[in-house]
Symmetry: C2
Subunit: 196 residues, 2 copies
């Protein structure tokens, strides 16, 4: 049993039960290994939790970031980011929803290296979105006075709202609501081509 196969399953499990609900015993049983066999791959539960975050982050880059960055700068690229982000949140790879959403709420008041790494990853992601917005401003697709950090923050909020509506409330209109919120935000900072 390879370490990466263990981490693969651990990411799935953690999306359902959280990073602290994730136990070495449960992992071992699912993979038909002994507890100590699983434990030997990591030196502590904390190290396992961090490796789970790293594994999910790598997968997020492959499934969301890289393909979206292949789209043309400006609105198409921002739209691709958003759509793939929603897709990630309902991916069968993380059956419990977005692992980062679960971990954010779980760790927001638990200081330590796991939380620190999560904050780094989330900050990098927000900065990347802001850069995509900045590129759109430079391309004159977005207004010069658009606020890239505010828009990145707002898009994060829309994604959290989608997560709440689709997963907890099981609202069939969740995706339509998220799309409407996205269009509203984009519309407000789209460059209006003046006819004068």
């Amino acid at each position: 049993m390879t370490r990466s196969a263990i981490l693969d399953h651990a990411v799935k499990l953690a999306s359902q039960v959280g990073l602290s609900g994730l136990t070495i015993g449960h992992l071992a049983e699912d993979l038909k290994l002994s507890k100590s066999g699983v434990f030997a791959h990591f030196q502590s539960k904390e190290a396992l939790q961090i490796q789970v975050l790293e594994t999910a982050a790598q997968r997020f880059v492959e499934e969301v970031v890289k393909p979206a960055l292949g789209e043309p700068r400006g609105e198409p690229r921002l739209r691709a980011i958003f759509q793939r982000w929603l897709g990630w949140a309902k991916s069968q790879q993380t059956p419990g929803g977005c692992l980062f959403v679960a971990a954010s709420v779980e760790l927001d008041d638990r200081p330590g290296p796991v939380r620190d790494r999560l904050v780094e990853l989330q900050s990098e992601w927000l900065a990347l979105i802001a850069n995509v917005v900045r590129a759109g401003i430079a391309e004159k697709e977005f207004r010069l006075d658009a606020d890239p950090e505010q828009l990145a923050h707002d898009l994060y909020a829309v994604m959290l709202g989608y997560h709440h509506a689709s997963r907890l409330l099981q609202d069939p209109r969740a995706q339509a609501r998220a799309n409407a919120a996205f269009d509203n935000l984009i519309g407000a900072c789209r460059q209006t081509r003046r006819t004068a």
Copy 2:
């Protein structure tokens, strides 16, 4: 030791460690009771979890809903709801942030009576916000074509974004960002008084 004193502390504890992280033993130690002394007040951990939700919901009504409903219909009332909601999320009464946010992520894939009750409470809250929007439309403060459910959903998303920015990222601009997002949403559905 009264049952309500136990629940009072349980709400605080649950906001920090979640409804499943909440343990009878931890509760007993903090309150200097025996485990079975605490347990005797409830018949199961599940019943305790539901009572924690009920206690928090009652407090939410007292601190957020009732005062806001004292404001004039339309924008002032919606603004009061939003401001008090943010205040609730950083209240010292729930040191781990909004209990409902924590419970939503924790329970979104754990079927059962606790989750069912949470969904009811959250749905009622969204419906109440939508009704406040509807009253604002009737007062002609908001546009006739404003969508009350969409706006309620969007305000929920802004609150989740605030929670994430302030608690996980510890962004000092979190409140300013939430206010900007609120103003943006309200501005889009404010009745434009035509001069014609």
